[in-house]
């Protein structure tokens, strides 16, 4: 087929030589500049396709001093020594990846838990990216505030917190906590436990919703039922075991994540407590597995798919120097069998 010895085209100059124009013109043509004759432009673009040439990204980024990379940092709970294994992260990551890809940005995945702003600001995660998306605030609210002062475009998924200076995207956590709890109350549950690390803004808000629902039902929250633990499976399991061992009366649990709820249900079942008959359990996030667990999980749906898009749009807007407002996405109660649905 191809009997022409294929010249190696590895730079604008090569293509310019073939076309008999200057590399400046080729550069402009491929970047769709208005200062190039329309015919020339089409011809050069066709030529680039023909020789399977694409602009050298490294050279371009070097010259333009940009990276076209956005870092994604998952804020791990420092009190939980586990690697992230919550599918919520994966679903969020997928949704962010899609959003970035559709804008031709790359996604740099950060791994390390974050403690010090200085370290962070100097790190590759931040320096080597045009912007950063943080998923969750952990207990690093103030760190994030300081980071925004360095002028870096950053966007955070999480809950609202006092004196916030960074752009926030998040669900309606107070509303979610409220509707979860009041749903259980409507079912006649009275002794409702709350599992989660309330020091994070997201969970703090969910907890306040939980309390509001109790107050509204003329119930007082019982400190013995409020279990302040990292949102992972191990802690949820242990918490159930502790409550049952101590013989604390309880007929429902509100968890701040679906994986906690799933682990709680398993722990209850292992100890012979029936879900939902004896104890109802409700999760948070509506990860895909929520509808496939045993029993299927009642939960608060956060629009994870939409979240990724909003996070990406926000960070790209910041990168392009625009003003960006924080966003709150609606949360929605999804009723399934785990609370007697």
């Amino acid at each position: 087929m191809t009997n022409r010895p294929p010249p190696v085209v590895s730079s604008l100059q090569d293509l310019a030589d073939i076309a008999g124009v200057s590399r400046a013109t080729v550069s402009r043509a491929l970047n769709d500049s208005p200062f190039v004759n329309a015919n020339t432009k089409t011809k050069l673009q066709a030529l680039a396709r023909k020789y399977n040439y694409t602009i050298n990204r490294r050279a371009r980024e070097f010259r333009l001093r940009q990276t076209r990379v956005v870092s994604v940092v998952f804020m791990l709970d420092l009190h939980s020594d586990q690697h992230p294994s919550d599918p919520f992260f994966l679903e969020m990551l997928g949704s962010i990846a899609d959003g970035l890809a559709s804008h031709d940005y790359d996604l740099l995945l950060a791994h390390a838990p974050v403690t010090d702003v200085r370290d962070l600001a100097d790190s590759r995660i931040v320096r080597h990216a045009d912007g950063v998306i943080f998923v969750g605030q952990g207990e690093q609210h103030e760190t994030l505030n300081q980071l925004v002062d360095t002028g870096r475009p950053i966007v955070v998924w999480g809950g609202s917190a006092a004196n916030r200076r960074y752009v926030l995207v998040g669900g309606d956590n107070a509303g979610g906590g409220y509707s979860a709890t009041s749903h259980l109350l409507k079912q006649g549950r009275q002794r409702i436990a709350f599992f989660g690390n309330t020091r994070t803004p997201e969970n703090g808000a969910r907890f306040s919703g939980y309390q509001r629902a109790l107050t509204q039902a003329n119930l007082k929250s019982d400190q013995k039922l409020v279990v302040n633990i990292p949102s992972d499976m191990q802690h949820a399991q242990t918490a159930i075991e502790n409550l049952l061992n101590k013989g604390i009366d309880m007929d429902a649990v509100v968890c701040t994540s679906d994986v906690m709820a799933i682990a709680a249900i398993s722990a209850l079942a292992e100890l012979g407590v029936s879900v939902p008959d004896d104890v109802a359990v409700i999760g948070y996030d509506d990860i895909r597995m929520a509808s496939y667990s045993s029993p299927p999980l009642t939960t608060i749906r956060q629009g994870i798919q939409r979240a990724g898009g909003v996070l990406v749009d926000s960070v790209l807007a910041l990168i392009n120097g625009h003003q960006v407002e924080s966003t709150t996405l609606a949360s929605e109660l999804v009723i399934r069998r785990s609370c007697g649905g």
Copy 2:
């Protein structure tokens, strides 16, 4: 504290000017070259720290024509329209991320399902990275073979397949399928179903192990019990419903992933079938949730943590021009309640 007006140090030249040497010397000093006087070297390194200067990665990569980036591509099942939500992916990703980070490489996450090699070879995923790790082969064995011919360093997590030319890292799938099945047989189960897409090399091997165990027990595999479906929750659920609706006799299910097993258990429970009393279920991967589901899941453990390290070491060795052997990691049966263990 700092009363000296802080000079902005943004290039080797700036630092060289301050130190009164040439930028060549600074470059060599910061790269720990042996051709620099030890004193000079320490002095310059201290200076760099003091002025909070780090080498401009973009410039360096441009000059060196490397990226220090490794792409990770999750091979999605083309017959499954779902985004990845299997925690196996997340755990694998975390383990790869750690491995790369410890070698100072970045992780570029690829999103799109892959069909055509040409597209892939031209894509940013491949061009913009020094190497690529594929997680799973899907049904793209031949595509991967062709891609390796382009001379790119690629490493694949998966199962062995005929005429393979790429470097493979994987578990002992035939062994895993065999030990899962023979464990069930030892428990007296006779009508054992198999769920999974056997067209992928990994699952093909697991299926062959399943068959070998049956043959060894003088049982013939029943086509009605072999359900060829993508390894996701939706399909597993539907498969259970179909089998039960058709009244097909069965007392156990071997699944090619834990999420399938979890969904199968849920579907069975919803239809009033007890696990493990009526039907035993066994999964694959030993994701963290396996031990927290209801009932806890018997499964085949793949050393996911170790896998990431091996994948990373292999791809970096390829990038550095070394010869690399394929690796098979041991698989291990983990017995929990879901099969009566």
